[in-house]
């Protein structure tokens, strides 16, 4: 132990002062410029800096595009970026109202994607799943008395509009009759499931009726 302490002391005594090191570096820097006048810019500056800027700009651009565009749908290369950004965004909603608004927005985005997938005749059976998932989250979110009445009304009206879009898309899928994509039984089952969620929720009878009325398509068992 004593040896260690004395080594430390020796090391301390033999430490050059900061001022000396600073002055010496200034001298070395000047000498360097005289000795190697051609080498002012390093390869890092020439290659790495523009490359880094390019990568950052591309990534930021790709991220913005992925997040903003409904064209970025499931199976798209940028879809994981979109899902990642949304997942981070979802973590910032601390109260019920902002969380509900977030899921309403996500429902809208999933519907946009589903409509595009339908237009493309995408051979993807489950593209209605995310819409159904968001709708059920919102319906369960309404099953509380903590929401401000005005906010509650706004959510029900918006949910109603989204349900109409969902219903229209479901009808198009069924009557279009194209190969691939969700088939009739699956689509009707989804509508049926959402209906059940509404019926079994704690919403008032008036709210339930308003929501159920927006579905024209009957479930498969009716």
């Amino acid at each position: 132990m004593k040896a260690n302490k004395q080594f430390k002391a020796a090391k301390k005594i033999a430490t050059p002062s900061r001022a000396f090191k600073r002055v010496l570096w200034v001298e070395l820097r000047q000498e360097f410029s005289k000795e190697y006048p051609g080498f002012r810019i390093s390869w890092r500056q020439v290659v790495l800096v523009p490359l880094t800027v390019f990568v950052v700009v591309m990534m930021a651009g790709a991220g913005t595009y992925a997040y903003a565009s409904p064209e970025v749908t499931q199976r798209h290369t940028l879809y994981p970026i979109k899902a990642g950004i949304e997942s981070i965004e979802g973590k910032f909603h601390r109260n019920l109202e902002s969380d509900m608004q977030f899921h309403m927005r996500m429902m809208d985005r999933r519907l946009d994607e589903s409509e595009i997938l339908f237009e493309r005749q995408q051979d993807e059976e489950n593209y209605l799943d995310p819409v159904e998932h968001e709708m059920i989250i919102v319906i369960h979110g309404l099953d509380t008395d903590d929401l401000d009445p005005a906010m509650r009304l706004m959510i029900i009206q918006t949910l109603n509009m989204h349900q109409v879009r969902f219903d229209q898309l479901a009808q198009q899928i069924i009557y279009d009759g194209t190969c691939g994509g969700p088939h009739e039984e699956m689509v009707r089952n989804k509508i049926g499931n959402i209906r059940v969620q509404i019926t079994e929720s704690g919403l008032s009878e008036e709210e339930k009726r308003a929501l159920l009325e927006s579905f024209l398509l009957e479930p498969i068992n009716n």
């Binding site: 004593k2 040896a3 260690n4 020796a10 033999a14 080498f39 890092r44």
Partner: protein, 160 residues
């Protein structure tokens, strides 16, 4: 050969070069500073031809040793660089020296190779890998030898 590379090199090795020289010029700061400056000026001029595959520590250490030998020759000193144990010419403040007087005494009793290892490790601050590169030994061998040397030094403290 770029300025940023040399700056990194200088920052990494300035302390160890200075410490190596400091105890071999009787702890005279002015002389140690002059020699350190000259060593790095030499390194700067030769830096373009330095092979990055070789050890930086070994390279700058060789320059410092050769430069110190030249300094000894010019000042007509006849001592062996490796025989000097925390060299001191009596000009420094006694309090500072008191702290390391005992260490100096014990180090002087050790074999040259043990003393050199301990100085490189615990005073100059080299890593085992760097010491191995300078002494052309494996890192494992250096680690074992340094451990044994430290054990010998501790025994000297205990036997006092």
């Amino acid at each position: 050969m770029y300025k940023s590379d040399f700056k990194r090199f200088y920052k990494k090795h300035a302390d160890s070069v200075y410490r190596f020289l400091f105890f071999r010029v009787s702890m005279n700061r002015e002389v140690a500073e002059d020699l350190t400056s000259e060593v790095f000026m030499k390194a700067l001029k030769a830096f373009a031809s330095y092979d990055p595959k070789k050890s930086e520590s070994a390279w700058i250490h060789t320059i410092a040793r050769n430069h110190l030998k030249n300094h000894y020759r010019d000042t007509k000193k006849t001592e062996d660089i490796d025989d000097i144990v925390l060299g001191y010419d009596g000009q420094r403040v006694e309090d500072e020296i008191d702290e390391i007087r005992e260490l100096r005494g014990h180090l002087a009793k050790l074999e040259k190779k043990d003393r050199q290892l301990l100085e490189m490790k615990y005073i100059q601050g080299f890593k085992y890998k760097e010491i191995g590169e300078i002494l052309k030994k494996s890192t494992g061998a250096v680690r074992v030898e340094a451990h044994r040397a430290l054990k010998k030094l501790r025994q000297l403290y205990e036997s006092k």
